[in-house]
């Protein structure tokens, strides 16, 4: 198990490094003009040159990538034209061109927001989806089942950002969306994110209802469910112990991958509700040619994805005794 995790971590790191090199090449070696962005509209060529030198943009591409990676591992220093040395401690991802803040700090501020939105939403959609899906499977063919399936198809066919927009515009029952750190004020944290949770939760619950329903119907038709019934245990125990245990295992896998996807794609939710998470950060960086910030969000996204994949695989060994990692 430990050996497996180490091996997977090694492969995860190589994936992240490849992502880093490719996106660095795409962003920094593209015909963009970072120094121009920093300098503004009235700018002399000497000033641009000075900026490029201070950001090491005058160095060859390979050296730039090397410096960037060194910054992540060991930190790096920037020397401005006036001779002022700025220390950027590891993990250093550079400074925002437009705001002048360290990218690491900006990501560290935005990550908890996105995590709060996505994990809170996941609890809502997983809970609601599994509950209704299991009920629908148990009462397959009943009116309740038909209404559930119909509603979930309807909700699924409306684009997510339309739902989010409608909630943001009309749902005045929710407290205004804002982010307060959990540790500062848990109540404000929860109430400020409620609208986003509900939107993310209820729209995705439709899919999870159908996943759980399909998986539970298949499970409840298995021979071992008949065996469980023949033991003389209650139908509730048959469905919720024997059925759910086997029926939800595949749904948990989908959940892990969905959470990873949403962490890197929270743009709609964050933009519409104005929550300062990673999605909002990256879209603003994109619009302002703020390459270090963009680079940082891409890098963080790839780390989140490979880690979530690893987590799902490890969790699976606990869920399914037949799976052994090695």
């Amino acid at each position: 198990m430990l050996f497996y995790i180490l091996r997977r971590l090694a492969s995860a790191i190589s994936v992240v490094i490849v992502t880093l090199i490719v996106s660095f090449a795409l962003f920094f070696l593209a015909p963009t003009d970072p120094a121009g962005v920093i300098c503004g509209t009235r700018c002399t060529p000497e000033r641009i040159e000075a900026i490029e030198r201070s950001l090491d943009l005058d160095k060859p591409a390979v050296a730039q990538i090397g410096l960037y990676m060194k910054g992540i591992v060991a930190g790096r220093t920037y020397t401005t034209a006036g001779g002022v040395v700025t220390e950027c401690p590891a993990p250093c991802l550079g400074y925002s061109y437009t705001l002048g803040q360290p990218v690491t700090k900006m990501l560290a501020d935005a990550l908890p927001v996105t995590l709060s939105i996505v994990l809170g939403g996941a609890i809502v959609y997983f809970g609601v989806g599994v509950f209704t899906g299991t009920l629908a499977a148990k009462r397959r063919g009943s009116t309740m089942d038909k209404v559930t399936v119909g509603t979930s198809l309807l909700v699924n066919s409306v684009p997510y950002f339309v739902v989010a927009l409608l909630v943001a515009l009309y749902a005045t029952v929710f407290p205004p969306a804002q982010y307060t750190p959990l540790l500062t004020n848990p109540w404000a944290w929860a109430s400020g994110l409620l609208a986003a949770w509900m939107t993310l939760g209820l729209t995705n619950a439709a899919s999870y209802t159908r996943y759980s329903r399909a998986s539970m119907i298949e499970t409840l038709g298995q021979d071992y469910i008949r065996t469980a019934r023949s033991k003389g245990i209650s139908e509730r125990r048959v469905v919720y112990r024997h059925g759910v245990r086997a029926g939800l295992t595949p749904v948990v896998t989908i959940l892990g991958l969905d959470v990873a996807f949403q962490l890197t794609n929270a743009i709609f939710t964050e933009s519409i509700f104005g929550l300062p998470g990673l999605g909002l950060l990256s879209i603003r960086a994109f619009n302002q040619y703020d390459l270090p910030v963009l680079m940082g969000t891409v890098l963080l996204g790839s780390v989140v994805l490979v880690l979530m994949n690893l987590v799902v695989d490890i969790v699976y060994t606990f869920l399914d005794p037949r799976v052994r990692l090695g």
Binding site: Y224, T227, S230, G232, R245, A246, D320
Partner: protein, 362 residues
């Protein structure tokens, strides 16, 4: 290969227990109907089945797929979905009426008074729970005991069904067991509450032949020890010769012949049973061509009028007045021997068998 598959099935070498008159029936099925309403009509899976079985005896129910042998046994266990199944008639187990029993009463009946072993132990055991856990669940749902006591009981049962090293095995998952071991574990789970009635639904079909013989021996052994009544569902007449005291031959949802094993395999009275015996390949002597029963079983949605077997029966012209096509025969004694009954209009079935069918048997 074990010997019971080599031996021609219509010769029973073992002496089955003779039925004594004063034996009380533990399982009594009378006029059982199991219908499944579907969009295409009503599937009449079981139509007026009656039989009885005292403690200490083994009844083999034989028949093709769709003859109603499993469906009728599932009804005995009350395992049919109440909403999609219509069950009428009577099933009495130890004096308790099963048909129409409340779910609550059913819960304390299932697994305690009657237990069932299924065909494929691979799919019948829950893959995510340990074998011990599944046996303990069975035990604890009918006995108020501690986890520790239940586990000891599970280990004791695993040991009893011949699983080596039960203390270690009890904590293993079904996928860590071999096919035969899994079926042993299933049997341990079924017998953990000492049920008086055991229903085995083709318990050896999914196993290879050497393991089959061991499992049959185990079931026979356990039956002697526990003195329970055993219903053994199978389509393997070799297995029947090995294990049964009585045979019930089912065709299209009904019993067509019922009687002691040596009589039914030695001198059967019903043309369908003759057909079953004829279609067994000869494993000794010169192998000749097989004699399958012509045609296929009728649809349970649209039964033929008269005798259900008449479209496939080569003797139907022997009965005068076209009775086979118009009148359903009753299950009654056709010969002087009252211990056996057959559902056929022929009035000299033993003569027909002696003269025409016996010479053709392998």
């Amino acid at each position: 290969m074990s010997d019971q598959t080599v031996r021609a099935p219509h010769t029973v070498t073992r002496t089955p227990r003779a039925r004594s008159a004063d034996e009380q029936a533990y399982l009594e099925v009378s006029d059982l109907h199991v219908h499944f309403p579907t969009q295409d009509g009503i599937v009449k899976a079981v139509q007026g089945l009656s039989y009885s079985l005292p403690l200490g005896r083994t009844l083999a129910i034989v028949g093709e797929s769709g003859s109603g042998k499993s469906v009728s046994s599932m009804a005995v266990m009350g395992l049919h979905d109440r909403k999609s199944t219509k069950i009428t008639g009577s099933i009495k187990v130890g004096g308790k009426e099963i048909v129409g029993m409340s779910e609550r009463a059913m819960m304390s009946f299932r697994g305690a008074d009657a237990a069932m072993i299924f065909q494929d132990p691979q799919s019948s055991l829950h893959p995510y729970f340990t074998v011990g856990d599944q046996i303990m669940e069975s035990y604890r749902s009918h006995n108020r005991t501690s986890k520790k006591a239940a586990k000891e009981r599970a280990i004791e049962m695993l040991d009893r069904v011949g699983i080596p090293n039960p203390k270690r095995r009890v904590d293993q998952y079904p996928h860590e067991f071999s096919g035969g071991m899994r079926q042993r574990a299933m049997i341990a789970m079924a017998l953990v509450n000492d049920p008086k009635l055991l229903i085995a639904d083709e318990p050896t079909t999914a196993l290879d032949v050497t393991v089959q013989a061991q499992i049959l021996d185990l079931i026979a052994d356990l039956q002697r020890d526990f003195g329970s009544a055993v219903v053994f569902i199978t389509h393997d007449l070799g297995v029947v010769a090995e294990i049964a005291d009585d045979i019930l031959v089912m065709y299209a949802g009904n019993a067509v012949e019922h009687g002691p094993v040596e009589k039914i395999l030695g001198s059967p009275l019903h043309p369908y049973t003759w057909g079953l015996l004829e279609s067994i390949p000869a494993v000794s002597g010169t192998p000749g061509p097989l004699h399958p029963i012509p045609g296929s079983p009728p649809s349970l949605l649209a039964m033929p009028s008269g005798c259900a077997f008449n479209p496939r029966c080569e003797f139907r012209e022997r009965v005068e007045g076209d009775l086979c096509r118009t009148l359903r025969p009753d299950l009654i004694a056709r010969t002087a021997d009252t211990g056996r009954a057959s559902r056929c209009h022929l009035h000299d079935p033993d003569r027909v068998f002696e003269a025409e069918v016996l010479p053709r048997l392998p």
